[in-house]
Amino acid sequence: MSQPTVIEAKNLSLTFETNDGPVQALQGIDLTIKKGEFVSFIGPSGCGKTTFLRVMADLETPTGGEISVNGMTPEEARMKRAYGYVFQAAGLYPWRTIAGNIRLPLEIMGYSKAEQATRVKEVLELVHLDGVENKFPWQLSGGMQQRASIARALSFDADLLLMDEPFGALDEIVRDHLNEQLLELWAATNKTICFVTHSIPEAVYLSTKIVVMSPRPGRIIDIIESSLPKERPLDIRESAEFLDIAHRVREGLRAGHGDD
C-alpha cells in the first residue's frame, strides 16, 4: 500500500493513576494505519480499545511511547479538527433540531451560513436522513439518532472518523442495516475509519484490518488483514472466508484471555 500513513503508534503505553494504584490501560502498542483503511478494534472490556481511540483523539494523554495522527501530535490534529468522533450514545442536543445538531460543529468552526446549509443537506443524504431536518432528536428512533450523530461527525472536512461502539446500544436488525450503510458511506467518502466494537461479526464484516486486543495490561494480540473484497453484501457473512477470519479473531480473543 502506497497510501499515506494516518495513524502511527510506536511502543505506546498509558497508565492511569487510580486510588487502587496504577492501572496499565495500554502497553507496547505498535500500529500503523494507512489512509482509506477501515480498522476495527476488538477485545473484552478493559482491553484498552476505547482508551486507544481516545488517545488518537487527544482525549487521553499517553504516558509512554509515540503516536502521530496525520504526521502531527494528537493535540495538533485535534486543534486542526482532523477527525470526527462518534460516541457510543448519539449525544444529540435535545434543544436543537437534527439540522441544528449537525450544524453545531460547523458553527463552532466558523463555516459560512450558506456552506453550513449545503453541508447539512449533503451529509443528511449520505446517511439517508433527508426529510427529518426540522425534527427534534426525541422524535427519531435510536438508530436514526445514531445516524444523525455520524452525519454530524462527517459534516466537516475531517478525513479520519473515530467511532467508539457507535452501534453498541442498538438491536441486531438495526445494526446490520447501519453496518451496510456505513460500508457504503466509507466507499463513497474514502475516509479512514477506526471502529471500536464488541462484536466479532461486525468487526469482520466491516474491516480491512482487525486489531485484536487483550486486557490487563491492554495490548495488541493479533492484527488481521482482511482478505474480503471491498464490495460486501450482507450474505458474505456466510462465506467460508468470512468464517475463517472470524475464527482467527475468536482464537486471538481466547489466547488473550488465557493469560489470566
Binding site: 482525549l59 470526527g84 468522533y85 457510543q88 449525544g91 435535545p94 434543544w95 460543529p105 468552526m109 426525541w138
Partner: protein
C-alpha cells in the same frame, strides 16, 4: 373542571372556615369587655356578629380584609398615599430591580465558579455564609452605608432584594452549568471548541431547566427582601411601611390586607415566570420530550 380546581377550592374553603372560627375565638375577650362596660348581656349570635366586625380586632374576619382591600385598591386613585396599589408598586419596583441585579450577579458568579477552580473553592463558602446572616440585621446597615455614600431611595432596597435573590440562582446555575456529562464535554473538545463556545452552545442551554426553578425562588425572596428593607428604615411608602404603620397603630385589618397584597404579588410573579418557563422549554423542544 372539578379535577383541576376541586382540590384548590376545597382547601380555600377550609381555610376560610378555620379563619372565621379563629376570628370568633380570638376576638371574644374584647367583645365581652365592650359588652361589660356597656352593661349588656351578649347572646351567641351577637357575640359572633361583634367578633366579625370589630374595628381593631386581634384577627380580622376575611370579609373585613376583603372590604379593606377593595377600599384601598379599586376605590382609591393609584397615586393616593392610601392606595394599596401605590404601595405595592413601590415594593414591586424595588423587588424587580433587585431581582434583576440578583439574577445577573447569580449567573455571573455561577459562570465564574464553574470555570475557575480558585473561584469554585473560594466563592461558594462565602455565598453560603452570606445567607446565614439574618437579613433583618444586615438590612439597616446596607441602607446606612449606602446612604453615607450618597445612594438612597430605590437602590438600597434593591440591594437587599438582590442579597436574598442571588443565592438560589447561584446554586441552581452552578448545578445547571455542570449538567453536561463527560461525553458531551469530550465532544466539544474533539471540535476544539473554546470555553466560551462550550458555554453558550452547551452549558447555557443545559442549564435552562435549572434556571427557572431558581428564578421562581429568587423572585419570591426578592419580594421578601424589599418588604424587609422597608421595615427598619422608617420608610413611609411600600408594603413594608404599611405593615409597620399597621402594627404601630394596631390596624390589624391594614396589616392583613398588606399581607394578602404581598402574597398576591409573589404568586403573580412566580406564575409569570412559570409561563415564561413553559414557553421557553417548549421552544427548546424539551417539554414534548417529557410528555412523549
Amino acid at each position: 373542571m372539578w379535577q383541576k380546581f376541586g382540590p384548590v377550592v376545597t382547601i380555600v374553603l377550609a381555610i376560610f372556615v378555620l379563619w372565621y372560627v379563629m376570628a370568633v375565638v380570638m376576638n371574644t375577650n374584647w367583645a365581652y369587655d365592650k359588652a361589660k362596660r356597656a352593661d349588656v348581656e351578649l347572646g351567641f349570635s351577637e357575640l359572633v356578629a361583634d367578633t366579625w366586625s370589630q374595628k381593631k380586632p386581634r384577627l380580622p374576619a376575611p370579609h373585613q380584609v376583603v372590604v379593606e382591600l377593595w377600599n384601598t385598591t379599586v376605590m382609591k386613585a393609584i397615586t393616593s398615599k392610601r392606595s394599596l396599589v401605590f404601595h405595592a408598586w413601590i415594593t414591586l419596583s424595588s423587588t424587580l430591580m433587585g431581582f434583576a441585579m440578583g439574577t445577573v450577579l447569580g449567573i455571573l458568579l455561577a459562570i465564574g465558579i464553574v470555570h475557575n477552580k480558585a473561584m469554585n473553592l473560594s466563592v461558594m463558602p462565602w455565598v453560603i455564609a452570606s445567607q446565614t446572616i439574618p437579613i433583618l440585621a444586615i438590612a439597616p446597615m446596607i441602607i446606612v452605608v449606602l446612604n453615607a455614600v450618597g445612594i438612597s431611595g430605590l437602590v438600597p432596597k434593591s440591594v437587599i432584594s438582590m442579597y436574598l435573590s442571588f443565592f438560589p440562582i447561584v446554586v441552581g446555575m452552578v448545578k445547571g452549568l455542570r449538567a453536561p456529562d463527560a461525553m458531551q464535554m469530550d465532544q466539544m473538545r474533539t471540535w476544539n471548541a473554546s470555553k466560551w463556545t462550550t458555554l453558550w452552545a452547551l452549558r447555557w442551554p443545559s442549564s435552562v431547566p435549572y434556571l427557572f426553578p431558581s428564578l421562581k425562588i429568587g423572585v419570591a425572596a426578592a419580594l421578601v427582601g424589599a418588604i424587609v428593607a422597608e421595615l427598619p428604615t422608617g420608610a413611609v411608602r411600600g408594603l413594608g411601611a404599611r405593615l409597620l404603620a399597621g402594627s404601630y397603630y394596631g390596624q390589624t385589618i391594614q396589616i392583613w390586607s398588606a399581607l394578602l397584597m404581598a402574597a398576591t404579588l409573589a404568586a403573580s410573579l412566580v406564575m409569570i415566570l412559570g409561563r415564561i418557563e413553559k414557553y421557553t422549554l417548549r421552544k427548546m423542544g424539551q417539554s414534548q420530550g417529557a410528555t412523549r
